[in-house]
Symmetry: D2
Subunit: 144 residues, 4 copies
Amino acid sequence: AKTAKSDDGLSAAELETLIDAVLDAKRYSYSPYSKFRVGAALLTANGTVIPGCNVENASYGLAICAERTAIAKAVSDGHRKFKGIAITSDMNSFCAPCGMCRQTMSEFGEYPVYLVKDNREVQRWSIADLIPGAFGPGDLNIDP
Amino acid sequence: AKTAKSDDGLSAAELETLIDAVLDAKRYSYSPYSKFRVGAALLTANGTVIPGCNVENASYGLAICAERTAIAKAVSDGHRKFKGIAITSDMNSFCAPCGMCRQTMSEFGEYPVYLVKDNREVQRWSIADLIPGAFGPGDLNIDP
Amino acid sequence: AKTAKSDDGLSAAELETLIDAVLDAKRYSYSPYSKFRVGAALLTANGTVIPGCNVENASYGLAICAERTAIAKAVSDGHRKFKGIAITSDMNSFCAPCGMCRQTMSEFGEYPVYLVKDNREVQRWSIADLIPGAFGPGDLNIDP
Amino acid sequence: AKTAKSDDGLSAAELETLIDAVLDAKRYSYSPYSKFRVGAALLTANGTVIPGCNVENASYGLAICAERTAIAKAVSDGHRKFKGIAITSDMNSFCAPCGMCRQTMSEFGEYPVYLVKDNREVQRWSIADLIPGAFGPGDLNIDP
Ligand SMILES: [Zn+2]
Ligand SMILES: [Zn+2]
Ligand SMILES: [Zn+2]
Ligand SMILES: [Zn+2]
């Protein structure tokens, strides 16, 4: 099993901060349909921690996951470079990001993805691990 | 043509604040694919102003509009009641919200929607005007 | 209450065919998450009837509604002009299309939308009624 | 580089049929915004070949990719078991499926994914390769 290491560019203190933030983030989850609370916490290149949660809708297709909430939030505040993202849910097991979120995280480059359990256990993935050979801006000849 | 009035529960000062915020919000738009910048600004029940912009993706279907960015941002910060939302783009005409955003705004009740031009001209809609007879939580017997 | 009329370009026989098709269409609904079955039936300009149902996903945001299934199906078979669409669910009341589907239907012009109950009762809407002042291709200076 | 093999449960003839179908499928692509045509062709368990193409919208977030078109089409015709899917675009290189499509393909189990170039060159992936450790129905305790 992969474990969080401080050799990702994140210090142990940064990782602890991210774990604190993600466990807190699911508190505001708006999930009356799935009753499945998810939290995310994004660490920007300049050290800002941005929490996100899932925001559902009566039209299921409009559900925005916690990870995408955190990224849209960050981008709309002027951040496009990230040092890491943490993800948690109420499950006992690690909560894997869905394909929508893997694609969205991938749009902004490579950074470690930490799946976090309530007991603070952590599993680390790279974005390339999560979505190998991802479709991206380059396939459309766009340099964002 | 409908015009902004201070009889929506918004004072003239609140509306001015919202117009300032929305014109500023599109600054962070991530729209390398459409090159169509959109901004939104949401006024929460407790007076917080939350800016949003569109955040696109190489996979077009993952584009999050400015309005949905602002709402996900607000909800993930603990806000679910809104006094109004403003929307702007770089077009000379008013920028109508898409159906995804009409549905998302509707999930959180009724509040005035202000379309704003660069010259600060304003057109006011209600959510019921934008998405009459909307599908909502009640259709799924959910009381969020 | 609006009722289906044969003055929409649809003959009474065409409307009956559409009602038969939509009531049958929800049979294949893949909705293990919402347990809310929806059907749609689209009548193309050349008289083909195309059924659709909702297709959900463990990641709620990937849910495709019945109306969008029918439209994607039609377009991928070479149809872009429509004479009408019918929508039904298992509710006792009429099932209103969500904002995603209003926007998607609107991309392909104006045609009548028939909400249908199990007892074959019908309520007719225009697309302009459902999504007034819709955002469309023209706003992006595109003539599809 | 991975290549198509007839040991996937697909015979060489079935793979040829799928390649013919996918190269034809992008013909109906509705992509006035990206001008990026994509085709898909899905082979169901009972041997039906179902073509799909991307169907875009002025609201970018409503774009449905070719792969998701093919799957919604298949499901709405009563198919939920698949033997393989082929994907192509107008690029000279192989066109990788986006995260939305990886997640959608994964909802219906494991089957080979063939990326196809215009010159009929093929690259084979498994769904588990494309979206390792996918989030799925089991995570929500649903057995669809
Ligand atoms: Zn997700
Ligand atoms: Zn929108
Ligand atoms: Zn819908
Ligand atoms: Zn895709």
